[in-house]
Symmetry: C2
Subunit: 351 residues, 2 copies
């Protein structure tokens, strides 16, 4: 029992080895982090802080909410490093961290607050509400299965997730040749960001974006916004069923294979191999954990998401992707990190 | 763009300064930590691992669930440091961390898995489901207000939270004299653990436990279990209203004041002061953040919880508690840490 005077008290709250019951308490409260960040985005709190002097009173006035809750929410976001707080004689002020200024202020071109509409959607989150039951039943409950049909969910994905994937797409695009006439197929294009970035990286590249028609409408808008619409064509349909044509110099398959089981992936990769020209490159972008399947944290955690939300999907390790690419006839199959993102690219070449 | 061969790939997924959009992605996925831990407890996964060789197949058989989901859930819990995973030629095995062995194996006397029944309850969590609306309205929505009446919620609290509070209570008890005839009032006793630990620490102490009758039934059971029932009496009622008697040598107020506003706390502390004998000690146990209100993480995060779930409560800083105790007539008002817990005790003396 240690005793200390007022200002000198130090609570060893973060000394993990000793924190036993409260480590449990923290995990049981982790959902509050999601709720707090979503609430701040819904209230446009970050933009209000950016536009103001950052006092709780001023922020509260801007977002039209009483000060007490604004202060509580801001302090919580400081704890989680989404905001800074400075204290001086005149009181306390909140300000945006560099990350929040870039990604959570609506005025920033990289604003990604829209992504909560997908990430916090009923469709994405519901399987986690009774995860024990999902584990017992060996996968998604019949009422929770994500449709593999054209679905409002994927329209929402296309509308809201582009900013999260922008940096990944920018890095992945560099895996294609920068200055040659190539035809690149973007599988399950969604927001279109991956193909669009290839078109921006290589001014001679022509992109064929494959997805359901309602989703392609969004990809097309984005292609126009990024001024590559002239080299951007649409191939509507289900990626597993529609004839894709042939002679592609490149194929990009981003965050698509994790929805499928190994057999389906192998069949799909063979179809891609057949559609490609000699020397063509396939770039698979994925949350691919290490062989141990428990590192790094983000890709490793994604496994449970795929278990809970797809009938046979998984976050396969990068060596499994290499193996599946080789089985489909590709060679090389290099693994490339895409810093600063937690995603990987596995790059196969058709000899 | 860095390129690496299979086993050597290092993804800088945890390098925070660069991780911008994925830091957001992680917070938006934080609710999955709560879901995964709750699911593992509901499935009694930790006990199954403790009793088995730890292969996914054996664990799956024990809990009666297919292996794929068990493996996904276990890997997720390894990422979050609730399990260890070892890999050798014969495959992979899961084992309990020292923390999990102590707190999450049902055979352990310190098992605290029951606490999910309170921490994950509808009553505790619902305000976080639409937190933006709660912030806008300046506090809990009418439909979300926690009752200050006798309530099934506090019975569930008393039933399930004792193991989480056991260590806190054990440490707080040491703030009372170890070997003298003292009469100690335990305010809103709940599971009774705080008073019971005082009785265990001091074999001459007599405890008066105050709470609603249905809650006291549980405290009484615990007093019997800890063999202090002979020195344990019950005072049924609302702590703010019931006459408590007088001449107490000690009063313990654990995790109670945070439900109230400052005026109510001041009035309540005056009532306690009047009920105490000269030289009596009041021990207030709380989640009390530092003056900056953004550290340490657990007490600072508790502020938002109180904002969302009580009409006027808060996690007051320890200096605010000191000030309120002094205003009620107490002197000394030392702050004591209660390692290894993130809670603090503020100890006042009636001169």
């Amino acid at each position: 029992m240690s005793t200390a005077q007022s200002q000198q008290v130090v609570v060893e709250a973060t000394a993990k080895p000793q924190l036993a019951p409260f480590k449990f308490f923290e995990a049981m409260s982790a959902y509050q982090q999601t709720s707090a960040l979503k609430a701040a985005i819904d209230l446009d709190l970050f933009s209000a802080i950016a536009e103001s002097s950052g006092t709780a009173a001023e922020v509260a006035e801007r977002i039209g909410a009483p000060e007490r809750g604004v202060r509580a929410l801001c302090d919580f976001l400081v704890v989680r490093a989404f905001l800074n707080k400075t204290l001086d004689r005149s009181g306390s002020r909140y300000s945006l961290t560099p990350d929040s200024a870039m990604f959570l202020d609506k005025k920033s071109p990289a604003y990604l607050g829209t992504a909560t509409r997908f990430l916090a959607s009923e469709t994405v989150t519901k399987a986690f509400r009774n995860l024990a039951e999902v584990v017992r039943s060996g996968g998604p409950l019949p009422c929770d299965v994500r449709s593999d049909k054209e679905d409002e969910m994927w329209v929402e994905f296309a509308r809201s997730m582009a900013p999260v994937m922008f940096i990944v797409a920018q890095q992945a695009a560099k895996l294609f040749a920068p200055d040659s006439e190539i035809k690149v197929l973007d599988i399950a294009a969604g927001h279109g960001m991956f193909g669009i970035q290839v078109a921006q990286h290589n001014a001679k590249a022509k992109i064929v974006a494959l997805d359901w028609p309602s989703v392609l409408a969004i990809a097309k808008e984005n292609a126009e916004r990024f001024q590559v619409a002239g080299r951007y064509s649409l191939l509507p349909g289900n990626a597993l069923e529609v004839p894709v044509g042939n002679n592609y110099d490149g194929v990009i398959v981003a965050n698509f294979l994790h929805h499928m089981d190994r057999a389906a992936i192998r069949a799909f990769l063979k179809k891609m191999h057949a559609a490609m020209a000699p020397k063509g490159r396939i770039v698979v972008v994925e949350f691919a954990p290490n062989e141990d399947r428990v590192s790094p944290p983000i890709p490793a955690s994604f496994v449970l998401n795929m278990f809970a939300n797809t009938p046979g999907g998984d976050a396969y390790s990068f060596s499994e992707y290499q193996e599946m690419l080789r089985a489909a006839g590709f060679s090389s199959c290099e693994v490339c990190s895409l810093p600063p993102t937690p995603q990987l690219a596995i790059v196969g070449v058709k000899e």
